[in-house]
């Protein structure tokens, strides 16, 4: 209780029709911690990530982010679904980076980054654009502010997407397989930005298949299989002496 928890998920259950994708998952992330989620496809890691900002609704259990219960209100000990408006307010503290980037196709890079602070934080246009330029420099794309998403490579789009998420100054950043849709030569530039963020003390939850990144950058590696967390610990421990047989077969498969 004394530790500074940013995300606290307890007993989270999620079904897609008859399929149970999350099975009573308990998951905690401390402030400033970098947690990497790994696991075979279909293990529920992306779903868990999407539950944290309520892009997916959980069917039971509770998720508290930065002190507030996500997606539900408590009334007389019962949980009731919160209004979409209130959920939107809660999401402002949780940044998300998607596998397919999802930059707004109708806006240029500068507008993509500055829109949300202007609309949601009330930042003046000039100030929001100034911050956007600083973020663009940070992700290494200062010359691209007038480009449209279609004019950028995948790696560049993903770096802009990271800048867009950062512009809201979130308490935590969620990464959903941020390099899986990239050509191999672009993976490095995105991982470099993420590594830089981790070093700066950003709280991050990363779903990835990049084991090298997990090993070097993660404070903690969480292994999921069949909707459950089967093992977690320091990267060294997971990668050198995995306890669970499923972790061993997963690592054997991805590390060759």
């Amino acid at each position: 209780m004394s530790e500074d928890l940013l995300i606290e998920a307890t007993g989270v259950e999620k079904w897609f029709g008859p399929v149970k994708v999350l099975d009573r998952v308990d998951f905690k992330v401390g402030r400033g911690e970098v947690v990497v989620l790994i696991g075979p496809s279909g293990s529920g890691k992306t779903t868990l990530l999407r539950c944290i900002n309520h892009l997916e609704e959980v069917q039971s259990g509770r998720i508290v982010v930065n002190g507030s219960l996500i997606g539900y209100r408590e009334r007389n000990g019962k949980l009731i679904s919160d209004k979409e408006r209130n959920i939107a307010v809660q999401r402002r503290d949780v940044g998300m980076v998607f596998q397919r980037f999802n930059l707004f196709a109708n806006m240029n890079v500068l507008e993509n980054i500055s829109l949300a602070p202007r609309l949601l934080r009330g930042t003046a246009k000039s100030k929001a654009e100034e911050q956007a330029r600083i973020l663009l420099t940070r992700v290494g794309l200062p010359e691209k502010e007038n480009a449209f998403p279609v004019e950028l490579s995948g790696g560049q789009q993903q770096r802009v997407a990271i800048a867009r998420a950062l512009a809201m100054q979130p308490a935590v950043l969620l990464f959903d397989e941020p390099t899986s849709a990239l050509d191999p030569e672009m993976v490095g530039e995105v991982l470099a930005v993420m590594r830089d963020l981790a070093t700066s003390g950003m709280t991050m939850v990363v779903v990835t298949h990049e084991m090298g990144f997990a090993r070097q950058v993660a404070d903690r590696v969480v292994v999921m299989a069949e909707g459950k967390i089967i093992e977690q610990g320091a990267p060294e421990q997971i990668f050198t002496s995995p306890a669970h047989p499923k972790t061993r077969s997963l690592l054997a498969a991805v590390l060759h």
Binding site: N53, L55, R91, G95, L103, A116, M168
Partner: protein
């Protein structure tokens, strides 16, 4: 075959004042009805996509009835039918010295109501064609539903539906002729009136056809321009595209 070329050219190049007034009415009716249909159609589309079952039912029924019955029937129903039932009587309205006749009001209303049903389905198709990832990214940033619609989804949907909307206005221009049945003196009714006095049917209807062809062709040219500038998949027109200069071959 007898075709009076002199009469034809006279009607085409120097049409009567009544015909020009009819042309004006055709344009006013189609533009007003299209704009109303454009706005009302968006409301119907939102209702149709709403999680609220009641709104959804109302919108679905509206679309079903309007698209399932002839426009001509709707026009007569709204102007003559409602008045006969003693429900609504469209009276002439005079403001600032201009009279807005009751049958014109009813005609525009009928065209707009009809248009809204088709526009609603076009909006719905356009909105569902916007990539789900765009919705998710906006949601993840913390945008509430209406803000997400206004800033992210609708601007993209408008570009997707540009061509079908252009098509709708083309149809609208021609559908205004149906309003002649309730006595609005648009181009067709004026032509019929002249025809009943002169019986130069072939010449007069050729002229009428050419005027419609002129209107729709002008609209086509505008749409070709709009498509070039706003069609999806291109950066917006405001984005200056850097065209690399060709290196001269030495």
């Amino acid at each position: 075959m007898h075709f009076d070329w002199a009469y034809f050219w006279a009607q085409l190049i120097t049409p009567s004042g009544a015909f020009l007034a009819g042309l004006g009415l055709t344009i006013i009716m189609s533009v007003t009805a299209q704009l109303l249909g454009f706005i009302f159609g968006l409301a119907v589309a939102f209702a149709r996509m709403s999680p609220n079952k009641f709104l959804n039912f109302i919108a679905a029924s509206y679309i079903w009835i309007i698209r399932g019955t002839p426009l001509l029937v709707q026009i007569v129903f709204i102007y003559t039918g409602l008045a006969a039932a003693g429900l609504v009587r469209f009276e002439d309205i005079t403001a600032f010295g201009i009279t807005f006749p009751g049958n014109l009001q009813a005609g525009i209303l009928a065209l707009a109501i009809n248009e809204a049903a088709y526009m609603a389905e076009i909006y719905r198709a356009g909105i569902s064609a916007v990539d789900r990832g765009q919705f998710e990214a906006a949601k993840a940033l913390g945008m509430p539903p209406m803000m997400l619609m206004r800033h992210i989804v609708l601007p993209q949907a408008f570009r997707i539906i540009l061509l079908p909307v252009g098509n709708q206005f083309n149809i609208m221009l021609k559908n205004t002729t149906l309003v002649s049945v309730i006595g609005v003196s648009e181009m067709l009714l004026v032509t019929e009136t002249i025809n009943s006095a002169t019986f130069r049917t072939f010449e007069l209807y050729s002229v009428l056809g050419i005027y419609f062809l002129l209107l729709t062709s002008l609209w086509n040219i505008f749409m070709m321009w709009a498509e070039k500038h706003y069609a999806l998949g291109r950066p917006a027109a405001k984005a200056p595209r850097a065209v690399p200069a060709l290196e001269p071959v030495q």
